[in-house]
């Protein structure tokens, strides 16, 4: 592999990390913003700092995101590059429509699609997709929904007869803690994906051996990319999560964040891969449904579920198409250079539009 291809893959991985940050900001801060526990800028800044710190807390790069899903020995930098493009494209598309979808599943889908086109169906491990995507995808939202519904029902029973002022202020304070815990866990989970990809690419290029430590510049650059993405903030998705699924009070926001964090941490502890996006979405629906079923806008929830189902095939299609385009240019750096150039143009256009829409939402608070 030429050094040019290496640095294109590294740059693309950091671009994915950035989209991961701004796409998933909503997971941590949407409830805090919608219940006015924190002003939007403060909430997003705190999430950015905690995502940055979280990236340094854990360096378990051995379990990379696509392991067990594609044949590891068939993976090349071009496949990783095309997979990253598929994931970035899906992240941008779902951000544009304000739909919270899993960045991890987008990355898995992208790599599956590019590996399929590059090496054929044998490169894809169907059992791994069922184990790491399908089953967790069913469990995460349902578990979070049920646990949050029980938790908020009990919370309402306990504080229901107390004065609304102190109760609201109390849960808003609690949300600072629960939202911070969620941001920290997001940083430890998601920055690892990018670090793992860059680390493996450096090994494949002969810069490192598998027994080496993760270079400091990899940790710092991945942490910085996800923190910057978080700070930029995916305001469209924040609006969906914070006010379009249900109209939330501080008690519901606290319960959703707390249950979301405990589900993610318990799953992470036993090695069961759950999507933070799916968990917090399920929690928010549970917090609303416990009050009354009609409190949840099921049409919005349905759109989110459709986005979840489409994530793997859509990212796989773009990943596969990208690999086919890259392969047209041969084995040198021309293909990745052309595709990376197109991606940069797309990102520039997308963020130019975001500046127009993002300010409006920020002003609404």
């Amino acid at each position: 592999m030429s050094d040019v291809v290496l640095w294109i893959v590294v740059g693309t991985a950091l671009a994915f990390d950035f989209t991961n940050g701004f796409h998933d900001t909503a997971n941590a801060v949407a409830t805090s913003i919608s219940t006015r526990a924190m002003p939007p800028k403060v909430a997003v800044s705190l999430a950015a700092v905690l995502n940055f710190v979280g990236a340094f807390l854990s360096l378990a790069v051995a379990a990379t995101i696509a392991s067990g899903i594609v044949q590891a020995d068939l993976i090349t930098p071009a496949i990783v590059f095309a997979g990253l493009i598929g994931a970035i494209t899906w992240n941008l598309a779902t951000w544009y429509f304000g739909l919270p979808a899993s960045s991890s599943h987008a990355l898995i889908g992208g790599v599956v699609g590019s590996a399929f086109v590059a090496e054929g169906p044998d490169a894809v491990l169907g059992a791994g997709i069922i184990e790491k995507v399908v089953v967790p995808g069913l469990v995460a939202p349902m578990l979070a929904l049920v646990v949050t519904a029980i938790a908020i029902s009990l919370a309402y029973r306990i504080v229901g007869r107390r004065r609304p002022g102190p109760v609201t202020r109390g849960f808003r304070l609690g949300q600072i803690v629960s939202g911070s815990l969620f941001s920290l866990s997001h940083g430890t989970n998601d920055a690892q994906k990018t670090m793992g990809i860059i680390f493996l690419t450096l090994i494949a290029n002969g810069n490192l051996s598998a027994s080496d430590d993760v270079p400091t510049w990899v940790v710092v650059s991945a942490a910085t990319a996800i923190a910057l993405g978080t700070y930029v903030g995916g305001w469209r998705i924040i609006k969906t999560m914070g006010s379009r699924i249900i109209k939330m009070d501080p008690a519901q926001g606290f319960a959703a964040q707390t249950v979301g964090a405990t589900v993610i941490l318990s799953a992470s502890h036993v090695g069961f891969p759950l999507s933070t996006t799916q968990v917090i979405s399920g929690s928010i629906m549970g917090a609303g449904a416990a009050k009354r079923l009609s409190a949840v806008r099921w049409g919005v929830a349905g759109n989110i579920a459709i986005a979840w189902v489409l994530t793997i095939p859509a990212a796989a299609a773009v990943g596969g198409l990208t690999y086919a385009v890259v392969a047209l240019f041969g084995a040198d750096e021309a293909g990745p250079l052309v595709v990376a150039g197109l991606l940069l143009a797309l990102l520039t256009a997308a963020f130019a539009r975001r500046l127009a829409t993002g300010r409006t939402l920020t002003a609404e608070g």
């Binding site: 854990s58 360096l59 378990a60 578990l143 306990i158 504080v159 920290l184 690892q192 008690a251 405990t262």
Partner: protein, 78 residues
Amino acid sequence: MAVVDFHALGQVVWVSLVAGIGVTVLFSVVIWGTDKTAAARREGQDGQALAYGVLAVAAMVVFSAAVITGVVVMLNKG
């Protein structure tokens, strides 16, 4: 065919139930106890105020311990 780790899944379910519901209930007790303490003080019932205050502080201590446990779990991942 995939081998789904049902043992891990079961652990996630019961830990989520206990921790998610437990932490939410604990913090609700903190708020309830704090407000009851303030109400008892306003009515001049110092004994009740002390009892509710102790309950609120105890719930806060356990809540804080749960949050610290969450951070420790994160630190022990890798």
